[in-house]
Symmetry: C2
Subunit: 646 residues, 2 copies
């Protein structure tokens, strides 16, 4: 955008006003919206267009393949992996389809739900695999409809492995991937981007390599948008395949599938399934070290890096697809060594944008869910639209109920035993709770020697930005101001700032200081006296579990606490303190004391009763310092409160 050349356009009529933006009708519809400026072209582009744009700009990319895990716990871990590997900037991820595992169901481990999570909760462009053999047309249509409903926009159309040895083609059935491609185009027109599989050595069941190429061409001509290949071991294999494809008129993108060898057994397994032959020179290296996992992985990384370099250097390859086997280390290492792992500290917005088409226009959220973005998306998933980047003209719609809590991705990543070590096998009083909060802030081990790396309100260690406030946070947590969310004030830092920056470059970001905490009613009483002095400089909302609510906000309007100013844009204000949502958040915040902490202990046990007491009697407080250009006064407010109590 920086080097954009001026373009000349002739205005047809002054009263004509339907935009004319280049990215189609949906984008021009948005062009005059007030509060939802389009931050990033990516948010509006189809996958095939993104691919084309990256190819045109010469910007190499990668993608990552995952399979659905078997257990709910493994799913929680996989999703953390999506978040971490998503940080490297894959163009997309894809999720395989396991016909035996009820892949279209609502189970937390189904292909459908894992892909849904990737799109909607992790904000990743996602391809859902789908196989067609041995399935009815209605089943397949049902799966596709569900995928569309969930916001999935890309399908990898596969035949799948036939069940039984003696498979026979069904008349009018789905016998080949091309039937699925045709079906998708017939029933869903151009809605989905469709990917198909290519076999650099020919499909093992094909009559010949040439016959297989002809099958591939059929799939493309039936409506596939691009091809991802089966794995291969030599770059020449792929490059020859690509030239052969082009020779018979296949012009769509062909993406090489890369398999970094990560272990002896996984290699054998994969080779067996794919009926590929491992080249002798690789076997010669691996066999002698087959029991040394680290050695094999190092070799696998070396091999993948050099093969990928050859592919990229050929000038014919623009993107690389990685078969991760749900593992992180080898693929990340390869990507970093190739220089295409792009961990960009800059974010389009201060929070992760959902990739669901319906939520594209979302550009403002309440600050309360800052550490629980998946919970926020889950609880607002029923909202029909986000006309102001949030909610409609009338009133904010209802948040999803707290029963939805039990959903796997709202659980803590850590098992009970670990949580007990962090948060205390036995609590002796409110002070032992204060200590847990303090250890989480400082990063120091607790009295039993364990580090507290998560809290019920925050599944991850302290954010870099919060580190700026560490010293003060430690002090106040020790004394029973149990902080769960905070941000410093920022008065116009560049949008490229590595810690607090977000949005396009050339902009400036701002914040009002924010502090949110649980505390006792004694402290609240003193705090209220102190807050009087600060008048409207500090806005506060104070509420207990019963909903008794004390505030000096003159009405129910939201207070913008994060905003950004950009070249050629309207103001973007992605984070607000919204009094109405605060009451929904309050229910969630108090429930976390019980659901995640109290329930670690036996009923009627003293530890459980301590947490229950806090839940029943403490207040949840949020404070905003409106005077963002001055020094944050919230610490002074807290100091004054402690002083008043002494």
């Amino acid at each position: 955008m920086v080097n954009e050349t001026p373009h000349t356009c002739s205005a047809t009529s002054s009263s004509k006003s339907d935009g004319g933006s280049s990215s189609g009708s949906e984008s021009s519809k948005d062009s005059s919206r007030c509060s939802t400026p389009v931050l990033d072209a990516d948010r509006h582009e189809r996958l095939r267009e993104k691919m084309r744009r990256r190819q045109d700009s010469g910007d190499k990319w990668f993608s990552l393949e995952f399979f659905p895990p078997r257990t709910a716990n493994a799913a929680v871990n996989l999703i953390s992996r999506f978040d971490r590997m998503g940080a490297g900037g894959p163009l997309f991820i894809d999720v395989t389809w396991h016909p035996a595992g009820d892949p279209g169901s609502d189970k937390e481990t189904s292909s459908m739900i894992i892909a849904n999570t990737a799109v909607n909760y992790c904000g990743l462009e996602t391809i859902l695999h789908m196989t067609c053999c041995n399935q009815t047309k209605d089943d397949i249509t049902g799966h596709l409809q569900k995928a569309k409903r969930l916001g999935l926009k890309n399908i990898m159309a596969l035949r799948g492995d036939p069940v039984g040895e003696e498979w026979e083609e069904e008349v009018d059935g789905f016998n080949h991937a091309v039937d699925l491609v045709k079906h998708i185009r017939n029933e869903f027109d151009d809605y989905f981007d469709i990917c198909v599989a290519g076999y650099p050595k020919g499909h093992p069941e094909a009559e010949s390599y040439e016959a297989d190429l002809r099958h591939l061409k059929e799939k493309v001509f039936a409506g596939a948008d691009f091809i991802i290949t089966q794995l291969f071991f030599r770059s020449e294999t792929f490059l020859k395949f690509m030239k052969d494809c082009q020779a018979i008129g296949i012009t769509c993108p062909i993406i090489p599938g890369i398999f970094p060898i990560q272990g002896y057994h996984s290699l054998r397994q994969l080779v067996k399934l794919s009926k590929l032959e491992v080249p002798q020179e690789i076997k010669d290296v691996i066999e002698p070290i087959k029991d040394n996992d680290a050695a094999i992985r190092n070799y696998g990384v070396e091999l993948a890096v050099s093969m990928c370099r050859e592919l990229l250097d050929s000038g014919m390859v623009h993107g690389l697809h990685f078969y991760t086997l749900n593992r992180e280390v080898a693929t990340t290492e390869v990507l970093k060594r190739l220089g295409i792992w792009k961990e960009d500290p800059r974010r389009p917005l201060p929070w992760a944008v959902s990739a669901h088409p319906k939520r594209r226009v979302e550009d403002v959220r309440p600050i309360f869910w800052a550490s629980r973005p998946k919970s926020y998306i889950y609880r607002t998933q029923e909202w029909d639209d986000f006309p102001n980047g949030r909610w409609g003209n009338s009133s904010s719609p209802a948040f999803g109920e707290l029963k939805d809590y039990y959903l796997f991705y709202l659980k803590s990543k850590s098992p009970r035993e670990e949580l007990l070590k962090m948060w205390g096998e036995e609590l002796t009083g409110e002070e032992s709770v204060f200590e847990v909060f303090t250890c989480y802030i400082t990063g120091e081990p607790n009295k039993n020697g364990y580090k507290v790396t998560c809290m019920p309100w925050n599944d991850d260690p302290l954010a870099t930005e919060t580190n700026l406030l560490k010293e003060q946070l430690e002090k106040v947590n020790r004394r029973g101001i149990l902080t769960i969310n905070s941000q410093p004030n920022i008065n116009g830092k560049p949008s490229t700032d590595p810690v607090v920056g977000w949005g396009p470059s050339g902009g400036y970001v701002f914040q009002k200081a924010y502090l949110e905490f649980f505390t006792s009613s004694e402290i609240v009483t003193a705090l209220l006296k102190v807050l009087k002095k600060y008048e409207l400089r500090v806005n506060y909302h104070i509420v207990n579990v019963k909903g008794q609510n004390i505030t000096n906000a003159p009405d129910l309007q939201p207070n913008a606490v994060t905003w950004g100013i950009f070249p050629g844009r309207e103001i973007i204000q992605p984070t607000v303190v919204d009094p109405v949502s605060f009451l929904s958040w309050k229910d969630e915040a108090f429930a976390l004391w019980i659901e995640q902490w109290a329930k670690l202990y036996e009923e009627e046990s003293p530890s459980r009763m301590i947490i229950q007491y806090i839940h029943d009697n403490y207040y949840l407080v949020n404070l905003v310092d409106n005077d963002f250009p001055l020094e944050n006064c919230l610490w002074q407010v807290v100091d004054d409160t402690f002083e008043l109590l002494n």
Copy 2:
């Protein structure tokens, strides 16, 4: 708001979200909107509520009465007077009803249209008088419906003077003001606030003072909200009347009508019409000086000030109503001496807010019409709603056509002869046009010794804010960069700043530097070369009369150039550079060359041809410096351009 005490409210249910704001359903509907925070309680309050609030807070107020003028030119002047006297902060103005002058028509001098202009173009709370005798029910309903449609919300219900000497009551007709009050309440429920007239000395036609008080009580009990009295000459008259009203159970506000004596003849005229007797002590002073207008006015001011002081000191009077006779000086003088003229440099928004209920939510406008706000309101009056404070989710609606131009309030205030003196009886070339622009900026007389106090694009002398840029503006206008709109950059000045501040106190306001001008194609060519260096720091739109449009804006999104951050509020961004509206503005801006300037000269005359040449060949340019925290680079851009040309 600063001393607002905390209020406790019990949250009933977290999923309930319909606000709970105190000012009724319309207000709570707005409470969760994203981009249209309510700046000012006034914008949502009914007149009677404003009155009550001012009474409760002990904040004295005033209101002003005007009558519709006879000619269109007088109407243009009256509207300028509305703007100037509106600056003093009247609680409302009212416009009298002249049955003989077709008061409900669309004529530019009708009561209806003058009141419409006051509400919608001057942003003043307005009461429209309406009389009922000798009119049919249908006529009256028609007038009321029209008033409602135009956004008028307050009616002064009067009987009016019967036609002819021998007036007889009509059966089932409108014989008394009380009939009109009842009719309004029957047909329009509680939509209008209704005012009725009170007679401190009794109505001249009433049987007795007591009988007249009973009539007044009837009017109030039929649904009137408050009373404005006929003029009187002694404070005791009013205070006795008020006590008598209260004694018989009239509890609504009673506002004394104040008539500052401004001249001998107008006093006689008024006294004759109202059948009042002028006290001897006043006659004794006036008769000897009856030919000395200044002396009479000074005496009138003295008299009014001392009577108003007595009224206010009584503790019974909270507001004063002034019969201005469409004059400015005496009333303004009285108000200033009483200390209730409140010229508040602070504005709720940087532009005058229209008081039309439909436009309440409007909080953003294109910068182009900054000096022509009435034109902007006129050209957008057909827009159905302002869901984002401007326009809907789809695309900006069409601006009204330029033929509407000829409407009286879009004309220049100055007569042709004056314009010729300012802009030149005879132009000798483009340079003489440059000189006119330069003189307007500097305030120095032109070569014929006349000051240039207005331009086709700006009916008023240079704004205080623009004065900040005077030196640079002078330099560039001399060289053919003919500026018509500009603002300096502002990086977080207090919202109470007397020059650039707006909005509630405790906030901070910001601006991006802006410069808009006409210039030749030679300068544009050089400018474009220079602008390349500035990349996205400077956004530009350059267009000629044919609509050839050159821009570096990446899409059709608006660029916010004025915004404010306030305690407990979302960001407010009232002014934008909007590429779509720029093309509508362009038509208007180019048309002004011809309509206001070229047409001053004979057809085919050299002067006219010079303006026509500029109209046909110059470009309209706007520049925004996005880097608001740095020093404004737009002057550097212009300097570089001139240097390149040398």
